[in-house]
């Protein structure tokens, strides 16, 4: 035990292999509907894991995560959209420095580009907004989200406006999804266990004390925001190439609240919490679907969902995987 604990990287290697085998088996044994649900779980897990870095570990309660997903989704979609279909959907050709009219990007670099652009956006908006605290930060990041969706609506020449983009090639499969989930968990875990993550934890616990120990909070807030945004951007790209259609409306209040809810239900600031939260809420949703259809009461899922949410918050506000801390005030 000790030995392995000394090299937790080994755990990751083993875990990665198990995951690979699991994904391989799932891909071959399960029917496509179940694989579809697994992919959805994976994508949401990536977003919650990345949100956990900002909201859980650094204590910045951001509600703007859907905006980063939107940036990633639109970027990767525009880069990877097949040349042949561009005309039918009135999408512009890529400018020459991005590949020109002859070239559409492969999936992986397109995803990374989406993530990077989301990171850059995070840095730009973070510099002013991360000065705010508590609810003010939440509301400002929510505002940022609305502004991003507004641009997605209004830059019609690029994004086709509110109608969104359809017929996005379906590149996302279970391997891509779980590869990225693995990467995001790994990166967040490494960050949390390095001086960067320790600085973030310190900021969450007590910003003034952190500063008095030589940590410049703004730097690490921005770092956490940007890394979180990167994976949100990637998840957005995966999502776009999974649902094969995006429109600005999707990346709005509902999505943001859904991700935040998953994270809180799972447990903020824990390693497994975000994944448990995302997976269990999606599992619940699809498990209830036959019930809803059987009873022909459409909307039942949301009702049960909401009830569950309230009950969990009342009895275990720190989430399923969260530990209760007795905090001194």
């Amino acid at each position: 035990m000790r030995k392995i604990n000394k090299f937790p990287e080994l755990w990751f290697l083993v875990g990665g292999l198990i995951l690979l085998v699991g994904v391989f088996l799932a891909d071959h044994l399960l029917n496509r509907y179940l694989v579809h649900i697994l992919i959805l779980m994976g994508i949401y897990s990536i977003t919650t894991v990345s949100l956990n870095l900002t909201n859980g570990y650094t204590g910045l309660f951001s509600l703007g995560h859907a905006a980063f997903m939107a940036i990633g989704a639109y970027t990767s979609t525009l880069l990877a959209f097949p040349i042949a279909l561009r005309e039918a959907y009135e999408l512009p050709l890529l400018p020459s420095f991005l590949g020109g009219p002859e070239y559409s990007w492969p999936f992986f670099p397109a995803l990374v580009a989406g993530g990077l652009l989301a990171s850059i956006a995070a840095l730009l908006i973070g510099a002013p907004v991360l000065r705010l605290r508590g609810h003010y930060l939440s509301v400002a990041s929510l505002g940022f989200m609305v502004i991003v969706t507004t641009f997605a609506k209004t830059l019609r020449g690029i994004t086709r406006g509110s109608m969104g983009i359809n017929a996005i090639p379906s590149y996302t499969n279970i391997y891509w999804t779980y590869l990225w989930l693995f990467i995001s968990v790994y990166v967040v875990w490494r960050i949390v266990n390095s001086r960067f993550g320790r600085a973030m934890l310190a900021i969450r616990e007590d910003e003034t004390a952190a500063q008095a120990l030589g940590i410049y909070p703004m730097k690490y807030k921005l770092l956490s925001f940007a890394v979180g945004a990167f994976f949100a951007g990637v998840a957005g790209g995966l999502y776009a190439h999974f649902t094969k259609a995006i429109r600005p409306f999707e990346f709005s209040f509902f999505l943001t609240f859904q991700i935040v809810t998953m994270l809180i239900i799972g447990g903020m600031g824990t390693t497994s919490g975000p994944i448990v939260g995302a997976a269990s809420l999606i599992a619940l949703r699809y498990a209830l679907k036959p019930v809803e259809e059987g009873l022909q009461i459409y909307g039942l899922i949301e009702l049960i969902y909401a009830t569950l949410l309230i009950v969990i918050m009342l009895w275990k506000p720190e989430g399923i995987m969260g530990k209760r801390h007795s905090r001194m005030s």
Binding site: A140, T150, T307
Partner: protein
């Protein structure tokens, strides 16, 4: 390019819309000022209030004055229920738990309403004395517009007096400032907070009624975006400030209307973006809002 009548008309449109936001913001600001709770369920109460008035005013034909009192009572009751069922237990807990709970309530009420009233929008046929049209050479407006402005100002004034002059109002401000000291003044904290919830929710339900009467159509999901915007109005105006809620609401209403009225039509879709850009700007320049009190940062 624009005539004077156009300018006046659009300003009036903005003010009427702003008054609706302001009333909602008023209910939210009281609760938020005390509890630091962004109450998303507030939006659901708009829906509940609108459908409640629909059934009693439009369907049963109960007189307007009675309707107003009934809807206020109904909203208040719902607020009390929410407070007792959940918020009271969470008091002093993590802020996010409160936030998520209120979101849960919103989702619950919205979907519950969807089941009860169907997903179809309802036509809300307000009594004709509310929808009489007045035409002058400059302005076109209806009784309901005047009613909204009048009611907003009246309620705002009453609320101002309530907060300033009554025992309960002073107690609310005291709790917002320092809960512990307020409790040693002999103030029953829970009771006062419940009253705040009741008042805020009553106002939300009443706004739902005005909404229905003004636009003539209500639906199960009408409350969400309105609720979020009302919260923006709270923050822009300054948390916990009654005149702030009014100012924030009217600024928001004017921003929405005037941005579509005076920018080229192509920019219409920037409307929500502009509203939230104003929010971020206000936060960056004056983090405590236009009329808000600066919060002390203790080292």
């Amino acid at each position: 390019m624009f005539s004077l009548g156009y300018l006046l008309q659009q300003t009036m449109n903005g003010v009427v819309l702003g008054c609706i936001y302001a009333l909602l913001a008023l209910g939210m600001t009281v609760v938020y000022g005390i509890l630091r709770l962004i109450n998303f369920a507030h939006g659901a109460l708009i829906t509940l209030g609108a459908f409640f008035t629909y059934f009693i005013l439009v369907r049963l034909g109960i007189p307007l004055v009675a309707t107003i009192f009934l809807v206020l009572g109904f909203g208040g009751l719902m607020g009390l229920v929410l407070d007792i069922v959940a918020y009271r237990k969470l008091r002093g807990g993590p802020e996010v738990a409160l936030l998520i709970t209120s979101l849960g309530f919103y989702t619950f009420i919205e979907n519950f309403m969807k089941m009860v009233v169907s997903p179809q929008p309802y036509a809300f046929k307000a009594p004709s004395y509310l929808t009489t049209i007045f035409r002058t050479s400059f302005l076109t407006f209806r009784t309901i517009d005047l009613f909204i402005i009048g009611a907003s100002i009246a309620i705002m004034w009453c609320f101002h007096l309530f907060i300033k002059k009554t025992k309960m109002g002073i107690a609310m401000r005291a709790i917002a400032e320092n809960l512990e000291v307020a409790s040693i003044m002999g103030i029953e904290i829970n009771r006062v907070i419940s009253v705040a919830f009741v008042l805020g929710s009553a106002l939300a339900a009443f706004t739902g009624f005005m909404w229905g009467a003004k636009y003539g159509q209500i639906s199960y999901d009408m409350g969400f975006l309105t609720g979020v915007k009302a919260f923006v109005a709270v923050v822009v105006g300054g948390v916990g400030s009654v005149p702030g809620a009014m100012v924030g609401g009217v600024i928001l209403g004017l921003a929405e209307i005037l941005s579509t009225a005076f920018l080229p039509t192509y920019f219409s879709e920037y409307r929500d973006g502009i509203v939230f850009a104003i929010l971020i700007l206000v936060l960056l320049v004056r983090p405590s809002g236009i009329m808000g009190v600066k919060e002390e940062v203790r080292v």
